[in-house]
């Protein structure tokens, strides 16, 4: 117990320590988070009318970010599988960072749902037995379950490993491997369930397609590695942590394949909807071409598509992919492209036109941007702190003091 306490204390100390750049970065994030929190308090006071959402478009920027972030969280599995299932030592060195990213991403996703609620004070209604949890009927209930379990898994596995290392033990594979296997499947499930959350709605033809779940997974496996590749390079630069190039190469290949599949899915969707344009195609028509003079999303989606295409080409041409600057460009383009395509480009057109054929556009307000930024800042801060502590433990900078007398008596600590 005592050593656990010391571990946490050391971790906190480690998180607070750092160079001026590190501090500036953290303070910057805190300021953004604080500003957004103030905006959220405004939202609590006035209700969701401070957002741009309406009865016509009843989910907006928040849920768009939610859908995207669940994908990022799921993508952590791309490090988990090679690290634990194929025992690649180079990946194993960074897998904890991937899991940290998953934790941050799931937390952000959950926060995005919470800020979207009309009555966050009633969140306890979801707790089974105290409240009423509509499981297994409601897909939203499913999502609550899978996200929380995934969060727990991704907290516990790295925690166990770090804590063992901290105490100078080698983590026992037998103890955590079953959970790793579970986490692998769970990663797919969180994203599939999130896709089902949308595709379950037969009244929304834009979402009601069986391609949605595969598309979600493909785009997640393209945007996730993009973020990981960029993050690993940043970490390589700002910390002394050795990140092997082979890891980045592996992720780039995965991203290439996923991006190719993603683009193919988009084409399949476009063909099916536009070849014989029926009622099913109204939303996609609005999205790509505009409708009745409304085209708020049209430029965005074309830019996103272009970004994805450029990223795909860079990734596909072997020498280009190996050129780090081009690879980074592809990562940025792929990440932003998918964020647009899968966030606003997926959630909003589902509501336009409404089931009664009305077209009412949606524009996020400053409040929504501020709150969303704050959540991203919180996520980044979480990741920064977790990565810092994890690296400290992995590099041996943070270690439990040699066991003293009383600890030796109680090996459990």
């Amino acid at each position: 117990m005592q050593s656990l306490f010391r571990f946490l204390l050391d971790g906190a100390r480690e998180a607070l320590r750092g160079g001026s750049m590190y501090r500036l970065w953290c303070i910057g994030l805190l300021v953004v988070a604080a500003f957004g929190t103030l905006q959220y308090i405004e939202q609590l006071r006035h209700g969701l009318m401070v957002t741009g959402m309406s009865d016509q478009v009843s989910w907006g920027f928040y849920i768009a970010n939610f859908a995207f972030l669940v994908g990022i969280a799921a993508a952590a599995v791309l490090l988990v599988i090679p690290a634990y299932a194929f025992h690649r030592s180079d990946v194993k060195e960074v897998v904890l960072l991937g899991e940290g990213m998953a934790v941050a991403a799931v937390t952000m996703a959950i926060l995005f749902v919470i800020v979207d609620l009309g009555r966050p004070d009633r969140l306890w209604h979801m707790i089974p037995y105290i409240g009423r949890f509509n499981f297994p009927g409601s897909l939203l209930a499913w999502d609550v379950v899978v996200l929380n379990v995934y969060l727990l898994l991704n907290l516990c596995i790295p925690f166990y490993i770090l804590y063992s290392r901290y105490r100078g033990h080698a983590p026992s594979t037998r103890a955590y491997f079953p959970f790793v296997v579970l986490a692998m499947f769970w990663a797919i499930s969180i994203h599939a369930v999130t896709a089902f959350l949308f595709s379950a709605n037969s009244g929304r033809p834009f979402w009601h397609t069986s391609l949605l779940a595969p598309r979600f997974i493909a785009s997640a496996f393209a945007s996730g590695p993009a973020l990981i590749i960029l993050t690993l390079q940043v970490l390589r630069r700002v910390t002394a942590y050795p990140v092997k190039q082979s890891v980045i190469d592996m992720l780039a290949v995965i991203m290439m394949i996923a991006m190719q599949i993603n683009v193919f899915f988009v084409i399949a969707e476009l063909f099916t909807d536009f070849y014989n344009e029926g009622a099913h195609a109204a939303s996609i028509h609005y999205l790509f071409l505009g409708m009745h003079g409304f085209d708020a999303l049209r430029n965005w989606i074309w830019i996103a598509l272009l970004m994805n295409l450029v990223a795909m080409v860079i990734l596909t041409v072997n020498p280009w992919r190996r050129e780090m600057r081009l690879l980074n460009l592809a990562c940025v383009l792929g990440f932003v492209g998918i964020w647009i395509e899968k966030g606003m480009g997926l959630v909003i057109p589902g509501y336009i036109p409404t089931p009664l054929g009305e077209i009412f556009e949606y524009f996020p307000t400053g409040t929504e941007f501020a709150i969303a930024l704050a959540i991203w800042a919180i996520g980044l801060l979480m990741f920064t702190v977790m990565a810092k502590v994890a690296i400290a433990v992995e590099t041996g900078r943070m270690r439990a003091p040699p066991p003293s007398h009383d600890l030796a008596v109680n090996p459990e600590g």
Binding site: G47, D116, L123, V144, L197, P355, G357
Partner: protein, 312 residues
């Protein structure tokens, strides 16, 4: 649900019930004191707010708890609007399942139903929620995308147009009920899909699930002119709603459960609206369903709407 966990839940319920009873007594005391002028902070005692917060879902409440909740609702209305309302929870009638039929060859597009509904159901006057939308359709098509929701000619009907009023279809297999993560919305035995406004968490997933755009959200606290408040209210119906929850047409549960007509039917000057008991073979609605050409909107989605359209 396993037996054990069921028991655990029951125990929790019991504990809470005891606690809430005590609370209720305290709140009653506060109620007695309300003869005094309301304090500056609006008169909601801490306990009152507390009781609101830990309201159980309607179907899980005991009779006593329902009564306490009803009187809390009355006090809340008095506080908020200075109006004495009457709120009950009239149960469904035996052997009754409500259905609705609208004659689209008779409908003239007056929108009288829309406004009668707003008044009857205490809909926020500023928030512009309306349970009924009358669509102006081009003759010769039933494509909703061609519909005009905001038609405003000098007179209706306009030549070449017909009118299609849309509201909650009270589906017999309602996708919104399936969607709700907290069972804040359900179908009553008389077929009305209702919402417990004190249980809804405002996630708006049901709005995404509804194929008829029947569900509306209170983006802000609905504003009601006190003099226009309909004081006859029902727990699952037209009682004043809080902010941040979803609401929708409930076939005027406060009227129809007592034998009255829905306000929209009463207001319709053309007689295009026919409401009745689907289980009564002698009812007007059954005659229509069995003898006229009827259709339902988006029937292909399999939600079994209980609102039909028919023509002469």
């Amino acid at each position: 649900m396993s037996n054990d966990s069921q028991k655990a839940g029951d125990k929790f319920d019991q504990a809470r019930r005891g606690f809430l009873e005590k609370l209720g007594k305290a709140a009653a005391g506060a109620g007695a004191a309300s003869a005094l002028p309301a304090p500056a902070w609006g008169g909601a005692s801490f306990l009152e707010a507390f009781g609101d917060m830990f309201n159980k879902q309607y179907k899980k409440m005991t009779r006593k708890e329902i009564d306490a909740a009803l009187s809390r609702i009355r006090r809340r209305a008095l506080r908020q609007y200075g109006v004495e309302i009457d709120c009950d929870d009239t149960p469904p009638q035996e052997n009754v399942v409500f259905g609705y039929a609208i004659n689209i060859s008779t409908c003239q597009g007056y929108r009288d139903c829309v406004h009668a509904c707003v008044k009857e159901n205490n809909l926020g006057r500023d928030s512009q929620v309306e349970y009924i939308r009358v669509l102006e359709m081009d003759q010769g098509t039933r494509n909703l995308e061609e519909a005009d929701h905001y038609y405003d000619p000098d007179t209706v009907p306009v030549e070449g147009k017909y009118y299609l009023p849309v509201q909650c279809m009270q589906c017999d297999d309602p996708p919104c009920v399936k969607a709700c993560p907290v069972e804040a919305t359900w179908m009553e035995p008389d077929g009305i899909v209702v919402i417990d406004y004190d249980w809804c968490i405002g996630c708006r997933y049901c709005m995404a699930a509804c194929p008829y755009w029947a569900r509306h959200f209170n983006w802000s606290q609905p504003k009601l002119p006190p003099e226009e408040i309909n004081t006859k209210t029902h727990y699952l119906g037209n009682r004043p709603r809080p902010r941040g929850v979803v609401e929708k047409c409930h076939f005027c549960i406060q009227r129809t459960r007592e034998g009255g007509q829905p306000a929209c039917m009463e207001a319709c000057p053309t007689g295009a609206r026919v409401f009745g008991n689907l289980l009564d073979p002698d009812s007007e609605i059954r005659y229509i369903l069995e003898n006229k050409t009827v259709f339902r909107l988006k029937e292909d989605l399999g939600t079994e709407p209980k609102l039909w359209y028919y023509t002469d």
